[in-house]
C-alpha cells in the first residue's frame, strides 16, 4: 500500500499555471520585492466583531440603565421633612430626594429604593419620625405629580386610599409642569404646590418664607384668612382627600389657598355653610372664627396671626385659650394680635 499511495500522490503536481499565478501575485503584493510592511488584514477582521460587541454591550447597559432609572412619576411627601420619590415605569422607587434637612435625615434613616411605591409610602408613614409628627398633629401631604397617563392616575388613586387610612394625611395632585419651578426654588413639588395656593391669598409671600414652614403651618395660615365666603364661593382644591374627619371635608380647600373652603368644610358637618364660606381675601377677619368650628380639634384655626392684619382672627383665637399663644409667637408677622376684640359678630360662632 505504501507504494501505491506514494505513486498516487506523486502524480499530483502544481501546474505551471498555478505557479506563475502565484509568482505574479507575490510580485504584485510586494511591489517588486521592495521593502514594505503590509498590515495584515486579518488583524483588522479580528478586531471588528470585538469592537461591535463592546459597543452593543455599552448601548445595552446605558439604555437599560436609562430605561429603568428614568422616573416617570413623582410623589412628594411633606410634613416638615420634604421628600420627593421618583417612580419609574415599573412602579418602583428609583430616586429619593430631600429638600430640607429634616428630609435628608428622614431619607437617610429609611431605605426605600427599588420598592414598590405603595410600600415605600407606607414605610414613610409608619416610620418613627413621621408617626410621631403625625400624632403631634402635624399634617402630611402626599402630592402626586400628574401627567397624562395611566400610571399617574393609578398612583393617585392608590395614594388617596392610603391617605384615607391615616390620620392627618392628605393627598393632592399637582401638574407635572410645576416640577421645574419647584426645584428652581429649592423645594419639593408638594410644598411648591402649597406655596402656589398660599400665594393666591398672600400675593407677596415668598418661597423662602415657605421653605421653613411645616405643612401644618402653611395650612393654618391659609385657613385663617377666609371671610365672606358668600361672596367668594370657595373653590375646592383639586383632589383633596382629608384623612382625619369622617365626612372628609372634601371641599375644604387645600389648606392653603382656600381658607374659606376650610371653614366651609368644617361646617358641612353641621349643615351650615354660610359662615363657613368665610371670605378668602386678606381682610377677612372672620376666617379664623369659621375655622374654629371645624370640630376637628384643630384649635389652630383659631390661632391668631393671619399675618396680614386681621385682628378678628386673634380675637377668635383668644377664646380657645390654649394654642393661640404659641401660634401668635410664630405667626405674628404684623403684630396684630388684637385679642378679644375686633371680631365683631363672628365671634359668637367661634365656640361651637
Amino acid at each position: 500500500m505504501n507504494d501505491r499511495i506514494k505513486n498516487a500522490f506523486a502524480q499530483v503536481q502544481a501546474g505551471e499555471e498555478l505557479k506563475d499565478k502565484t509568482r505574479e501575485f507575490l510580485a504584485d503584493k510586494t511591489r517588486g520585492y521592495t521593502e514594505q510592511r503590509r498590515f495584515c488584514p486579518q488583524r483588522m477582521a479580528f478586531c471588528r466583531p470585538i469592537v461591535s460587541a463592546a459597543l452593543c454591550l455599552l448601548i445595552l447597559v446605558f439604555g437599560g440603565h436609562w430605561f429603568y432609572f428614568t422616573p416617570t412619576a413623582k410623589i412628594s411627601i411633606d410634613v416638615n421633612p420634604s421628600l420627593e420619590l421618583g417612580i419609574n415605569r415599573f412602579d418602583r422607587v428609583v430616586a429619593v430626594e430631600a429638600y430640607n434637612e429634616d428630609g435628608q435625615a428622614l431619607a437617610a434613616s429609611l431605605d426605600i429604593r427599588f420598592m414598590g411605591y405603595q410600600e415605600a409610602v407606607s414605610r414613610i408613614l409608619e416610620s418613627e419620625k413621621v408617626a410621631a409628627l403625625l400624632s403631634q398633629d402635624e399634617i402630611l401631604t402626599i402630592t402626586v405629580m400628574e401627567s397624562k397617563g395611566v400610571q399617574s392616575t393609578r398612583i393617585l388613586s392608590d395614594m388617596e386610599s392610603c391617605a384615607a387610612g391615616h390620620q392627618n394625611t392628605y393627598c393632592y395632585s399637582a401638574d407635572s409642569r410645576e416640577v421645574a419651578p419647584a426645584h428652581d426654588h429649592g423645594m419639593s413639588c408638594g410644598k411648591y404646590r402649597a406655596f402656589l395656593e398660599l400665594q393666591k391669598l398672600f400675593p407677596d409671600i415668598t418661597p423662602e418664607e415657605i421653605q421653613d414652614m411645616t405643612m401644618r403651618e402653611i395650612r393654618d395660615l391659609a385657613e385663617e384668612l377666609p371671610e365672606e365666603a358668600e361672596e367668594h364661593p370657595h373653590h375646592h382644591g383639586r383632589a383633596w382627600t382629608g384623612g382625619s374627619g369622617p365626612g372628609s371635608p372634601s371641599q375644604a380647600g387645600n389648606g392653603k389657598g382656600q381658607p374659606g373652603g376650610a371653614g366651609a368644610g368644617a361646617e358641612k358637618e353641621k349643615g351650615e355653610a354660610s359662615e363657613a364660606a368665610a371670605g378668602n381675601g386678606k381682610e377677612q377677619p372672620g376666617g379664623a372664627g369659621a375655622g374654629a368650628e371645624k370640630e376637628e380639634g384643630q384649635a389652630s384655626e383659631a390661632a391668631a396671626g393671619n399675618g396680614k392684619g386681621q385682628p378678628g382672627g386673634a380675637g377668635a383665637g383668644a377664646e380657645d385659650g390654649e394654642e393661640p399663644e404659641t401660634w401668635e409667637g410664630e405667626h405674628s408677622r404684623h403684630g396684630h394680635h388684637g385679642r378679644g376684640s375686633g371680631n365683631g359678630g363672628r365671634k359668637g360662632h367661634g365656640h361651637e
Binding site: 500500500m1 505504501n2 501505491r4 499511495i5 506514494k6 505513486n7 498516487a8 500522490f9 506523486a10 502524480q11 499530483v12 503536481q13 502544481a14 501546474g15 498555478l18 505557479k19 499565478k21 502565484t22 509568482r23 501575485f25 507575490l26 510580485a27 503584493k29 510586494t30 517588486g32 520585492y33 521593502e35 514594505q36 503590509r38
Partner: protein, 160 residues
Amino acid sequence: MRNEQEVNRVVEQYSDMVRRLCMVHLKNHADTEDIFQTVFLKYVLSSVSFENEEHEKAWFIRVTVNACKDLLKSFFRSHTVSLEEVMEQPALLLPDNREVLEAVLSLPVKYREVVYLHYYEDYTAPQISRILGKNVNTIYTLLTRAKQMLRERLGGEGYE
C-alpha cells in the same frame, strides 16, 4: 523580506507539496489558489531564518496545513469531496492512482494529513507530531486507524 530569487526557488521546490496538501484538505481548486498565495506570501514576508532545508520544509507544511484549516473554518463546507473538485484534470490520473486518491480523500481530514506526510513524504510519527504540533501518541493512533480504513477501502494484500 525575501528577495525574488529566494521566492522562485521555494516556489519550484515546494509547489507540488503544497498542492498535495491542498488536495488533502480542500474541496475545490479555487481554494488551492488562495492557499498558494497565502502560503508563499507568508514566506515572502516572514523573517524566519531556516537552519536547514528540513526546517524550511517543515515550516511550509505547517503553514499550509494551518492556512487550509483557516479557510475551512471560515465558512460552511460539506464534508464529501470528489476528485473532480480538487484536481484540474483528474482524467489524466492513472486508474490506480485515482482509486487511491479517492480512498484517501474519503477519509476525514486529520487522517488525510498524516497519510500524506507519512506515506508520501516519509515522515515518522515523531516528526509529524513536531510539525503539526500534536501529541505523538495522537499521530500513532491516527496512522493506525488511517491504515485500517484505507485497507478496507482499497482491499488487497501485502500492505504494511
